[in-house]
Chain length 206, copies 2
Amino acid sequence: MLKLYYTPGTCALASHIALEEAGAAYTTERIDFKSNQQNSPGYLAVNPKGRVPALVTDRGILTETPAMLAFIAQGFPQAKLAPSDDPFAFAQAQAFNSYLCSTVHVAHAHKGRGPRWANEESSFADMKRKVPQTMAACFALIERNMLKGPWVMGELYTICDPYLYTIAGWLEGDGVDLATLPKVADHRNRMSERPAVQRVLADEKA
Amino acid sequence: MLKLYYTPGTCALASHIALEEAGAAYTTERIDFKSNQQNSPGYLAVNPKGRVPALVTDRGILTETPAMLAFIAQGFPQAKLAPSDDPFAFAQAQAFNSYLCSTVHVAHAHKGRGPRWANEESSFADMKRKVPQTMAACFALIERNMLKGPWVMGELYTICDPYLYTIAGWLEGDGVDLATLPKVADHRNRMSERPAVQRVLADEKA
């Protein structure tokens, strides 16, 4: 039985949706950021990075969203969540998810996580002011060059879709006008209609 | 025939080494950062992100180091550069590489790429001052929890090794004392003895 550690509002949503889409047998445990539970000794024993998500499997613990998503796709091949039998197409999906984690999520994190990379309040404020611009630039590239439609990879719904949906959910809060991103907005609407997404959102809100 | 776009001193080294280790037939083209060639119309047609590396294949262009490394491993299975037939072990390798791209490389980039995330000179200086601390923390975690030895994944040399070698090569420049990281230092030495690594370094210096 798999177990997902998550916190509502974080990128853990992507893996949560993927588990649900895969039809996996899994449980969840919520980590409370307000009480800094991610840095408690108990959770650091699960994930020494002090971050969510983390996925407990019978082989050990996995972290890092792109790796967890690929594991879910490959561990539940009947759900066809990745083109695992085609190294080029699989790499394209991994490249998309890698861009989300290393560039887009990082751009977003400069709004509230400035102390990761600097020490001065003036720097945190400067970083925060730039987030609308960096997130708009990232999503302009996604809109123009990366999101094939109707799903990220085209006709095949993959592990790229819940990840894009998760990060695109931060756009209004990051000061980006969704009206400039019609394909991204359309993707978000299409995602929100999926029963698996609705079940996961209801569970994370409960 | 594959073609790698790279710049010496960048993370493109990881893919360059992996291609050489795989015994792939490939050519390379150097992109000159000093003349801002990465943002020239010609290169932006290859990679609209304006970054290296990029890998031209007969199916299309791939970017993002973790995806390119997985593609090289899966495209040249006889080189056994990843445990591709074991979804959990493969995900562990992807998790390691994802940590390098989304956390470690990002920490390093705050030394010289501050304008990506802020606008003020004072913020750039503040970010730069913190790099020795953030890089030391990242590599302490790698040393303690992630690098199994003798290679990253243990006995099997994988696509994690050239990527770790590449980023560990930035440690002295980032103000981290390698004496505090004996396993990482040992790994770097072991990597530098590999003929494929020596051939690639000679080629990038030429």
